[in-house]
């Protein structure tokens, strides 16, 4: 399955601008492995008093724009996703939870059919 490539950051900015002057706070970035080479990426926000989630499907090897320039708090969330899911964000390094070079790669990825890489022990 090859999802339509979307510019996640531009779309998020667009969605947040729609909320007008309401203050927005990033709650979490949640990746979910679909086990077919794609990931669902859920950006969860509190906008005003309401909860909003924006869901994108991205290729596992897709390099995404970081949103840490919009929310500094996003930086460690993205670093965590690099470590645990092998994701890529422009200009962001992993090594937050797992030391690079230890042989453990993307431990929360699920093995794709026909692919043995990833998995729990790299």
């Amino acid at each position: 399955m090859d999802p339509k490539v979307v510019d996640v950051k531009a779309d998020l900015k667009n969605q947040l601008e729609k909320s007008g002057s309401e203050p927005s706070r990033l709650i979490s970035i949640i990746p979910l492995d679909n086990a077919d080479g794609t990931l669902d990426l859920i950006y969860m926000f509190q906008i005003g008093d309401g909860l909003h989630q924006f869901r994108y499907q991205v290729r596992a090897d897709q390099e995404l724009d970081t949103i840490s320039d919009l929310f500094k708090g996003a930086l460690n969330m993205e670093r965590e996703n690099i470590d645990l899911f092998g994701m890529r964000f422009k200009g962001v390094q992993g090594g937050l939870l797992i030391m690079p070079g230890t042989g453990i790669v993307a431990p929360l990825r699920k093995p794709s059919p026909g692919h043995n890489e990833g998995g729990k022990d790299g």
């Binding site: 203050p23 709650i27 979490s28 949640i30 509190q46 929310f71 500094k72 996003a74 930086l75 939870l97």
Partner: protein, 363 residues
Amino acid sequence: MERMARTSTIPFGPQHSSFLEPLHLKLKLEEERVVGVDLSLGYNHRGMEYALERDWKNNFFLCERVCGICSFHHSTTYCQAMEAITGVQPSERALLIRTIMLELQRITSHTLTLGHIAESLGYENLFMHFFREREEFMRLVNLISGNRVHYCMNWLGGVRRDIGPDLARQVEVKLEEMLPKLQMLAGVVRKDSTWRKRTRGVGVLSMRQAMEWCAVGPVARASGLPYDVRLSGNAGYALQGISFKPIWREEGDNWARCMVRMDETLQSVDLVHQCLGLLPEGPLEKKFKGSPEGEGFSRNEAPRGELMYWVKAKGAATLDRVKIRTPAFMNLPPLTEMLRGCEFPDVPVIVVSVDPCICCTDR
């Protein structure tokens, strides 16, 4: 000729006498002033999210092992997420018992943090006062749950232990006994000149910085952001008939963070009183048969701030995904802002003032 400031780099942790959990800060100093901070985490990563995918039923107890200080908040938030998936609605009695335990655990957590801050300031005597009063609350939760740290009280659709009339009376009596003692400690935190001099204007996090870093809990509320999950959503106390207003301040410094916690401790005593007065008759738990399927999301106001669980169940004993976003994970990175410009001896106090929990952060 002007003398150049001597620069040096000093590590704080991962083993440090003022903070025993493994947190590493690389501090860049000019003379005694901090001019730069690098933060490293990950020394205590245990793969909890992976472990939680294995058995949704065991998770009610395993979640509590994420953190020993806010264990009940973890299991309650997981329960709420699973209840959102299964559609099982706990009885009002079960919800209020949960709220009582959440607030009692908040008291044990805040008194621990305030004692820890007192110790970092060199106030050994006050540290002992805080821990003496905390011990009374530890005995109280032990009386209710049979455990001091991991209460093991939560289950899908309710709780496993009741607070009957006799026990409720014992809790009331204990709270009435403890309230003046906590008020005395609040007076010290509010007025003591040494405490104020060491904490006022130190480690300031402005409202704008708190928003940028997505800070939560007492750290955000001390910087003028009145975010509190207890106000809204599935954890909203108003739904249970409890009167609640978040406590917040504008100063953004160490003192404000201490005061928010101290006032919240007193507020929690009042909230427990309210819950005991509201306890209706009803079942403790509701049964659920089968395997859950779907996605569930839940939040709770843990002692350190907003705790979030996101769960995807696939109709089997195992789960597809469990995502935990802990408050400490959000409150540690702003330390880089709070520490910049401070004096080196203030570093331990500022670090402890955000109530860092590495068990929660690294999971």
